[in-house]
């Protein structure tokens, strides 16, 4: 049984004419890492600030535990936020920064000192305790801010892109540390990032946002395997998902997606669904992830290999199928293929997604038993 720690219910926030957060609802379970993921300007920070109480929603409610905190000021909410920038108090030493909230709470001196040193140890700040925090680099500042937040044992820990300014190596290490610390403390964490890879690696569940709206909530695997909209399909995954746009038509008993000279035969896929006829004549987008595109000598689609890149343990092959259509395929690194070669392709039919071009939503088809 999952207990909802934070509930955001129909929250809307406007800045003048701009709707920064548009009727957003979600639940965050106790003890999980919940990530708000989306491009810059989509309303992630605003949502986080509404949860923290720094911003009041125009509409909607926020609950922490069983309490409606919508009108509660931030200092009474027992949540803590690590800011993207200006995370530490620059005029105080690292020690004083970490101790700040404890001093506000009048924690006895010895207990305070013990706690500060413990946290400094965990976050590798021990040899910096007497340095002025403003003198340190951004990645150290983020660690100080994290220690300061953890010190007051908040019910919910909010982090706004805390790793943006760290370099790749530090980021990877910090991400692991963060998860480890979160698991040890069991604290509920809401994490904001625009980096889909970071979200996938860190989160228990992800909420994808765009233009102030919440598009989809789910585990990383759910979001990856079953995107409910074209935006989510595009935003998640690297290399990005292949899309084939066109009108669905039926010619000589076969289903084709056609646009200009592009014509892709999708009969095999369509034949396993019931209500396909209703899609005929509609503008649709077919989405297929590069790893679900196979090199297959008997495949129905033919093209020429244009570019081959090494992508991690695999090869990313760009294949020009039509003048206006290039498909990407991720294949095992030992696959023997060369640029300029003519190849045939097939799709993993289980993993083909169909979206309505107009609404950009996933088209729900019912499967033939």
């Amino acid at each position: 049984m999952k207990i909802a720690k934070v509930r955001v219910v129909n929250v809307t926030k406007r800045f003048g004419d701009l709707v920064a957060v548009n009727n957003v609802s979600f639940e965050v379970y106790e003890g999980e890492i919940f990530t708000l993921l989306g491009p810059s300007g989509c309303g992630k920070t605003t949502t986080l600030r509404i949860i923290s109480g720094l911003e009041k929603p125009d509409l909607g409610k926020v609950y922490i535990g069983d309490n409606d905190v919508t009108t509660l000021p931030p200092q009474l909410r027992n949540v803590c936020l690590v800011f993207q920038e200006y995370a530490v108090f620059p005029h105080m030493s690292v020690y004083d920064n970490i101790a700040f909230g404890l001093r506000v709470r009048k924690v006895p001196k010895e207990e305070l000192s013990k706690k500060v040193r413990e946290l400094a140890e965990v976050l590798e700040l021990t040899d910096r305790l007497n340095t002025k925090a403003g003198r340190l680099g951004i990645s150290e500042q983020q660690r100080i801010a994290l220690a300061r937040c953890i010190a007051v044992e908040p019910e919910v820990l909010l982090l706004d892109e805390p790793l943006t300014f760290a370099d790749a190596k530090v980021r990877e290490k910090m991400r692991r540390e963060l998860k480890k610390i979160q698991r040890e403390l069991g604290v509920t964490m809401i994490y904001v990032t625009h980096d889909q890879l970071e979200a996938m690696m860190l989160s228990d569940r992800i909420a994808v946002m765009n233009k102030g709206r919440l598009l989809q909530v789910g585990s990383p695997i759910e979001i990856y395997d079953n995107p409910q909209s074209l935006f989510v399909a595009h935003f998640i995954g690297s290399p990005t998902i292949n899309t084939i746009e066109g009108v669905l038509v039926k010619e000589r008993g076969r289903f084709l997606v056609k646009r200009g000279e592009v014509a892709i035969d999708v009969s095999e896929f369509m034949s396993s669904y019931h209500n396909v006829e209703s899609l005929l004549g509609r503008n649709i987008v077919i989405g297929i992830r590069p790893e679900d595109v196979y090199l297959d000598v008997n495949g129905p689609i033919e093209g020429v290999v244009e570019v081959i890149e090494v992508s991690g343990e695999r090869l990313a092959i760009h294949i020009r199928v039509f003048k206006e259509l290039v498909l990407k395929a991720l294949v095992p690194i030992h696959e023997i293929v060369s640029e300029g070669e003519r190849v045939r392709l097939s799709f993993n039919l289980e993993k083909v997604h169909i979206f309505d071009k107009a609404t950009e939503e996933k088209v729900v088809l019912s499967r033939v038993k």
Binding site: C80, L81, Y86, H91, V104, I138
Partner: protein, 288 residues
């Protein structure tokens, strides 16, 4: 070669111009310094370096009128000790008041937009009217309130007319402080007041120093109000300086000596706090 010649000429011109400006500024200062160390006989001669160097002008400042008579002029001037202390007390207290009130007002203006843009502009009013226009009504009020010639009245008046500088200077500094620092403090459980004192005030310290120095200098040199509103007990240094040259005599030497003392004090203060001034002007460095 011709080009090179022009360049030399231009740079020579530049240095000559700068030199003239420096002389323009420094000659009166040099004149005061020179006068302060000259004996009575040399006050009216035009050379800079005193023939008979003397400390007498300084010594005389701290003595009673009888000694001044010996120097050949007859003026009745009190020892400088009291005006000096008055000036230090009045200027320090009114500066602290102006800076603190200015800080809180600037904070309200910066974060809560009180008292509104017009209200803020309105605070400049005390500086837009020539002081001479309102010194008389103020004298009448103070007279009715039995506040004439008191430290208290000067402190109130000085802080009232300089607070607007405190507000405007500090508003610039507070505007530049990212709000996230205050928000972070609140999320740690600090009340707004605690946040103000523990976070904003220390971060704005360079601004407080800049505003404080500026207001201190203005108040330290103020003559008109002090001249009208004081008489015996609360006389300040600028008023006292003016007493050495007037209908009763022309004591250029002691006057120069006192001017020198009067300017050494703000210079010393400025020097003592220059560390903070430097941080003040490079405030951007503090940020993320």
């Amino acid at each position: 070669m011709k080009f090179h010649g022009t360049r030399v000429l231009l740079s020579a011109l530049k240095y000559i111009t700068i030199g003239v400006f420096i002389l323009w500024v420094l000659i009166p200062v040099a004149w005061v310094v020179s006068l302060a160390f000259k004996p009575y006989a040399e006050w009216r001669v035009s050379y800079f370096v005193p023939k008979n160097f003397t400390w007498n002008n300084f010594i005389v400042l701290f003595k009673s009128e009888a000694f001044i008579g010996i120097m050949g002029a007859t003026a009745i001037v009190e020892p400088v000790t009291k005006p000096l202390i008055n000036s230090l007390v009045v200027t320090s207290l009114s500066t602290i008041m102006a800076v603190m009130i200015g800080f809180f007002t600037a904070y309200g203006a910066s974060r809560y937009n009180t008292p509104g843009p017009f209200g803020l502009f309105f605070t400049l009013l005390t500086r837009m009217l020539p002081p001479a226009t309102f010194v008389t009504p103020i004298m009448v009020y103070y007279s009715n309130l039995k506040l004439l010639d008191t430290h208290f009245s000067l402190i109130i008046l000085y802080s009232a007319v300089t607070v607007t500088y405190g507000i405007w200077i500090l508003k610039g500094f507070i505007d530049a402080i990212p709000i996230e620092w205050e928000e972070a403090a609140m999320l740690e459980g600090a009340t707004p007041i605690k946040t103000l004192f523990k976070v904003v005030l220390p971060i704005a310290r360079p601004g407080l120093v800049v505003a404080g120095l500026f207001i201190f200098l203005l108040t330290w040199t103020e003559l008109l109000f002090a001249l009208v509103l004081t008489n015996v007990y609360a006389v300040t240094l600028p008023v006292h300086i003016s007493k050495y040259v007037g209908a009763v005599g022309q004591l250029y030497g002691p006057q120069a000596a006192l001017a020198l003392i009067g300017s050494v004090i703000p210079i010393a203060i400025g020097y003592a706090i220059q560390k903070h001034l430097v941080t003040g002007f490079t405030f951007g460095m503090v940020r993320g």
